[in-house]
């Protein structure tokens, strides 16, 4: 797996969620993702950056353009130093939320993307990585 390009968007205020969406829309379009695939990636980016802002107050979204042989993909990594998630398995289950939201942030993003990894724990902050590969 090679990294072709990378960048980041700092999430410090509510308006940065929209900034993150725009950065990822540009990236997905540039990588040749179709309209629906782009909408999926951008929506996942929106949910995950909103989680960062809502639960941790601040954090960062790092993006990478990937190639794996013939495949092109996008990887988004969201990192914060917030309170962390006590039970990651529970958090990606349908309908689970402690933030007064709709509980669809993590499970929703997981459905929209091809791969998701979460590294978190109480007092350890949270790192969520998602990937989407372009269908040919």
């Amino acid at each position: 797996m090679n990294v072709e390009d990378q960048g980041e968007v700092k999430i410090k205020q509510e308006a940065d969620i929209a900034m993150a969406r725009r950065a990822i829309r540009d990236l997905a379009t540039k990588l040749g993702f179709g309209v629906t695939e782009t909408a999926r990636i951008v929506t996942a980016a929106s949910e995950l950056s909103r989680n960062v802002f809502k639960y941790a107050g601040a954090g960062v979204m790092q993006w990478r353009a990937l190639t794996n042989g013939e495949n092109k993909g996008v990887e988004l990594r969201f990192e914060d130093q917030g309170p962390g998630i006590a039970d990651v398995n529970e958090a990606v289950r349908e309908g689970y939320s402690t933030g007064g939201g709709l509980g669809m942030g993590l499970p929703g993003a997981k459905r929209l993307m091809d791969e998701m990894e979460i590294d978190s724990g109480i007092g350890k902050g949270t790192r969520v990585t998602v990937r989407k590969w372009r269908r040919r």
Binding site: E47, M104, R111
Partner: protein, 128 residues
């Protein structure tokens, strides 16, 4: 942001509210305020919420739309959501968002036809 504005216009008995392609949270919040204000200041049957330009409907946006429709309902008006693109409909469904019981229409024309009527806005069949 200048290009992120919500347009609210009155067409006869209906308010037509058009959302920009990718509204930030402040713009989405303004939807609720501007819509309810416009409902209060105009004697209309309800509103058509035009989402045809919208490129993404995340959980926050969807919740605000559903809540706004509910609030308009409490005020005595009707809301019809119109023009959602296939990509947005697919993505919103996969994400798991719903718009409650809000009525929807394929196009603005159909939505305008539906206001004040039950059913799905198809023209009534001629009686034999």
């Amino acid at each position: 942001m200048g290009n992120e504005s919500i347009s609210v216009i009155r067409i006869h008995d209906v308010l037509l509210v058009t959302m920009p392609a990718d509204p930030d949270d402040a713009t989405v919040a303004a939807l609720q305020e501007r819509t309810l204000e416009a409902m209060d200041q105009n004697d209309v049957r309800g509103l058509v919420l035009d989402l045809s330009k919208v490129e993404i409907l995340d959980s926050y946006f969807a919740r605000t739309v559903a809540e706004t429709a509910q609030m308009v309902g409490l005020m005595g008006g009707e809301t019809i959501i119109a023009g959602m693109s296939p990509a947005v409909a697919i993505t919103a469904t996969e994400l798991g968002v719903t718009l409650g019981k809000t009525r929807t229409a394929l196009t603005i024309d159909r939505a305008l036809d539906m206001i004040g009527k039950q059913g799905n806005g198809t023209r009534p069949r001629r009686e034999r």
